[in-house]
């Protein structure tokens, strides 16, 4: 990989036989563009990187071990911390894994509440991703616009579950509370207000020449590479692979809704470059708006939570649940030994796969482009380290 159009030639010896040597830079763990606490050791020749090696684990909290200690219901608040930028899908992954083991059916209204919450979570995660990506590239205004909207969504979700980031909204068997009175109208009104703002974001940022030039053709990932490294979600679709768990392995109430799955087409450069990964996220926000509208307009009546015993003991066995979180296909491998404590829980996240590709992607890139690559992969450090 590298900059298309010209290959950077690395000169081993300076003119006149002067010896040169590579520079090793430690980037992070507190670098502002690394989206959480993670570090890269960059070996560079001037501005050109020979390699960038990720050093992770700063946010490792042993969440998988905690699962073995706190019981099935008790683990729900911890799932929020797996990916605190978009916590709803993490709640849902854990609930779905337990439900699959025990064969619990979630009431229809509960599924709709989950979909609405998860799609709002996706929008507010993508807003942060897109906004901070703009800021990393050097455009600071779109960030404030994106964060303003994220705050409105946080307000809405706070009304639903009482928290703005770590929601703890879902339960094994459904959701903890029904949507509050008049929330439906409020949320629909918000979606109507929000959707035109995506056009504004496009005008301000997506089609801005400087921004496009910074992203187009930078670090393209082919579809084969993306699959081999198990990239998921917008990163996979940016490489032109048409796959969305919501469509291809349908779960929850998603089969009831009509929506598109945008993929990268290389419209400004090469398929799978930073721009494709970016624009897929922007378009996904529109699709989420569609889903939220359909779900709220056709909200079925009934309970939101199935009857699940307090001392929940799913039968012994294992389950592997995949769902589409904001960062894509998230895998929950859960093993039960028939007791009231999970025997093993493994959370396979999109950011973990994405960051493992960085040594390969960063070769012969400029250091400034590493920032674009990190932002375009939408790395979220807690999700990498768990």
């Amino acid at each position: 990989m590298g900059l298309a159009g010209f290959e950077v030639e690395i000169q081993r010896d300076g003119a006149g036989g002067l010896a040169t040597e590579d520079m090793t830079l430690s980037m992070g763990p507190q670098h502002p563009s690394t989206h959480g606490v993670l570090r890269f050791v960059v070996r560079a020749d001037g501005e050109v990187m020979k390699e960038a090696l990720p050093d992770i684990g700063y946010l490792h909290r042993s969440i998988e071990k905690i699962a073995e200690k706190v019981g099935w219901h008790g683990f729900m608040p911890y799932t929020d911390r797996v990916d605190y930028v978009a916590a709803m899908p993490c709640n849902q992954g854990w609930a779905m894994a337990a439900e699959r083991l025990a064969g619990i059916e979630v009431p229809k209204r509960g599924e709709y509440c989950r979909v609405v919450a998860s799609e709002f979570s996706r929008i507010h995660s993508h807003l942060l991703s897109v906004g901070s990506m703009a800021m990393d590239i050097g455009a600071s205004t779109p960030f404030t616009h994106a964060i303003r909207e994220r705050e409105y969504i946080n307000d809405l979700l706070e009304e639903v579950c009482g928290a703005r980031l770590t929601f703890n909204y879902m339960r094994i068997g459904g959701v903890a509370w029904d949507l509050p009175p008049a929330w439906r109208e409020k949320a629909l009104a918000y979606v109507d207000r929000f959707e035109p703002l995506i056009d504004e974001l496009d005008d301000l940022l997506s089609f801005n020449k400087i921004y496009v030039e910074r992203l187009a053709n930078v670090a393209p990932v082919t579809a084969e590479e993306a699959i081999d490294w198990n990239l998921v979600g917008p990163n996979l679709r940016g490489s032109g692979v048409q796959f969305d768990v919501r469509k291809d392995l349908p779960y929850s109430a998603y089969p009831d809704f009509d929506f598109e799955v945008p993929i990268g087409t290389g419209e400004r450069g090469t398929v799978g470059d930073c721009y494709d990964r970016y624009i897929v996220r922007v378009r996904e926000m529109r699709e989420s708006c569609k889903i939220i509208r359909q779900a709220l307009r056709n909200l079925p009546a009934g309970p939101v939570l199935a009857k699940v015993p307090r001392n929940f003991k799913p039968p012994a066995g294992d389950a592997y649940v995949r769902l589409e979180s904001a960062r894509g296909d998230m895998g929950w491998y859960v093993v039960s030994d028939g007791t009231s404590f999970p025997y093993r829980c493994k959370i396979r996240t999109g950011s973990f796969a994405a960051i493992s590709l960085i040594p390969k992607m960063s070769r012969n890139l400029m250091i400034a482009d590493l920032i674009a690559v990190i932002a375009s992969l939408d790395l979220v450090a807690p999700e990498i380290d768990r």
């Binding site: 042993s62 071990k65 084969e224 291809d248 592997y320 093993v335």
Partner: protein, 169 residues
């Protein structure tokens, strides 16, 4: 481009690698699995990836489970095929007293980091892995935290790993 069900995938594997592929287990499509003899693991994995009927081009997940009662650490491979949209699970047992398995990093690139994680947290050594180092825990951390008999050390470089409960009267 037709998706195979778990029984068909298993029949194809068992037909090709008789003796190395265990019985079909599991109750649903997401956990239908077969236990593979470690010696044949790389070959089976390569076949899974390249066989035109299987085409498991994606290693969706790789994890490990400690089973002290059976005295094994089980490594679980969740395979997924994008062309056929089907999945299957391979399992391999490593003896608990000397947990060694062949690395699949040469088959699926994603295995490289996932195997590092299993090495770090469960202590399974993957032979042939290009860079088997700890990934999440500090390099000098004693033991492997996801083992069932792991006891958390009281301190790490003079920093206590516990604190008094704030809820005490």
């Amino acid at each position: 481009m037709a998706a195979l069900d778990a029984a068909a995938v298993h029949a194809r594997l068992a037909g090709r690698f008789a003796g190395a592929v265990g019985a079909l287990a599991g109750t649903r499509p997401d956990n239908a699995c077969a236990t593979i003899a470690p010696a044949a693991l790389v070959e089976v994995a390569r076949f899974c990836k390249t066989d035109p009927d299987l085409r498991f081009d994606c290693l969706s997940n790789l994890s490990g489970v400690d089973w002290p009662k059976r005295e094994v650490i089980q490594v679980v491979y969740h395979l997924w095929s994008y062309p056929h949209r089907h999945g299957f699970v391979l399992k391999a047992d490593a003896p608990r007293d000397n947990p060694v398995l062949p690395s699949l990093a040469a088959v699926w690139a994603h295995a490289e980091w996932q195997e590092r994680e299993v090495f770090d947290l469960l202590g399974v050594r993957f032979e042939g892995h290009p860079d088997l180092r700890r990934i999440l825990m500090p390099e000098d951390w004693p033991g492997h935290p996801l083992r069932k008999d792991f006891v958390e050390p009281e301190e790490y470089h003079g920093i206590s790993t516990s604190r008094e409960s704030l809820l005490k009267a």
